[in-house]
Symmetry: C2
Subunit: 214 residues, 2 copies
DNA sequence: GCATTTGTCTAGCGGTCGCTACAGAAATGA
DNA sequence: TCATTTCTGTAGCGACCGCTAGACAAATGC
């Protein structure tokens, strides 16, 4: 079995998205359960969230979890993907939508201050924290690759502005990108340690002061 | 029993520090074993390091560990204290020994780049990482308090320079201190994610560029 | 020698971990 | 109606978790 979920294998429409399957229907909403798992992993991290914790917050039995999401690893991977599209995309959007790298990173840092302290959900960034001190190396490396990919995206956005003459030719895109990434990571840690939105916004202000004048 | 180690209770001299006790002597060097435990906790964090891992790297039996160090929590606390004096004191030293806050923080950031990537030991900072995703709230809070205390120390050093007229009176000591702390935390995360000493030193350079001109 | 003190060794406690076998329940198509 | 398909609930698997009881080993003071 290649797919991790039987009812969503190729050729058969997913349950709950219109085409009802043949057997007994699922007694819970898959998206809602996934969101509950997302919040649990976001708050406590991969290893510190047990399958028993998950079934409790998702309000389903263990076999239902395994039937719907595969094993714990698969569920976490799906959670990370969902997090990326629902909560962790503000940076990519900022880089893509703003006219310059400078404006994109300014917006990214300001929005990070808001996102990382938003009420009603865990503070900080799931990708930065959820696999720290994880004894499953694949999980730890998977999130590390995401972090480094984010920094690489910042770097290429800066390099594009340098190539277009919007930034001085001597601008070190890689260093500036790493600085931005480190700042984001520091802000996320600060949020976890109790910093308020205003305090994070003040950090963003300072971080932007180093930006080369275009 | 109040003390966590029988052979070091008040009134009786510690074993291995000159005054031999009465019973069978310890078959291992306590300081060496503690150092091994320190490295294990530093690399993998509190929860991801099991007692079984500890006895293996310390090369002692389980009852010996409990007799010499108390339980896992006590051993970790002693490790954190040892880490603070042996590896984590460069920041306090920099603030105390340099003539100005600016010089102290400059040295702190530069030394962090070296310390966090030193060969032969885990990268990054134990206090920043070892209790992330920890399901023992006391341990998590203990390290969080240390992080926030470090930032408070930076703040008071900056405030002292402001009071002495070495920095502009409008300098926001708290914000500048938090910025420095966030930068240190971001550098530590970067070290864990594979950044080299040179890359971290470049981050320190950028971070210092925002410092107000005194 | 001998009682006392202390450390080490083997073995195993109760608990939780991620995960699954199996039987029954609830839908389908014929 | 009834076989087929799929999901759910109970119950429990082997492995590891932190930790400890109890027997033996090795030092001391007398």
């Amino acid at each position: 079995m290649a797919s991790s979920e039987k009812s969503e294998r190729a050729g058969a429409p997913a349950r709950g998205t219109g085409g009802r399957g043949r057997g007994r229907p699922r007694s819970f909403d898959r998206a809602t359960a996934l969101e509950k798992a997302l919040m649990a992993f976001w708050e406590h991290g991969y290893e510190a969230t047990s399958v028993s914790d998950l079934t409790r917050v998702m309000d389903i039995g263990t076999p239902s979890l395994y039937a719907a999401f595969g094993d714990k690893r698969s569920l976490f991977e799906e959670v990370v993907q969902e997090y990326g599209t629902r909560y962790g995309s503000f940076g990519d959007r900022a880089l893509a939508e703003e006219p310059t790298a400078r404006a994109g990173i300014e917006r990214m840092l300001r929005e990070a201050a808001v996102e990382y302290t938003a009420p009603g959900r865990p503070h900080g960034c799931l990708v930065i924290h959820a696999a720290v001190n994880c004894s499953t190396p694949e999980v730890e490396e998977s999130l590390r690759e995401r972090r480094n990919a984010n920094i690489a995206a910042i770097e290429s956005r800066i390099a594009a502005d340098v190539a277009a003459g919007l930034l001085p030719p001597h601008t070190e895109a890689a260093t500036l990108a790493r600085y931005t990434g480190a700042m984001i990571q520091g802000m996320s840690q600060q949020a976890r340690d109790g910093a308020s939105r205003g305090e994070l916004e003040a950090l963003a202000e300072i971080a932007l002061a180093v930006w080369p004048r275009g």
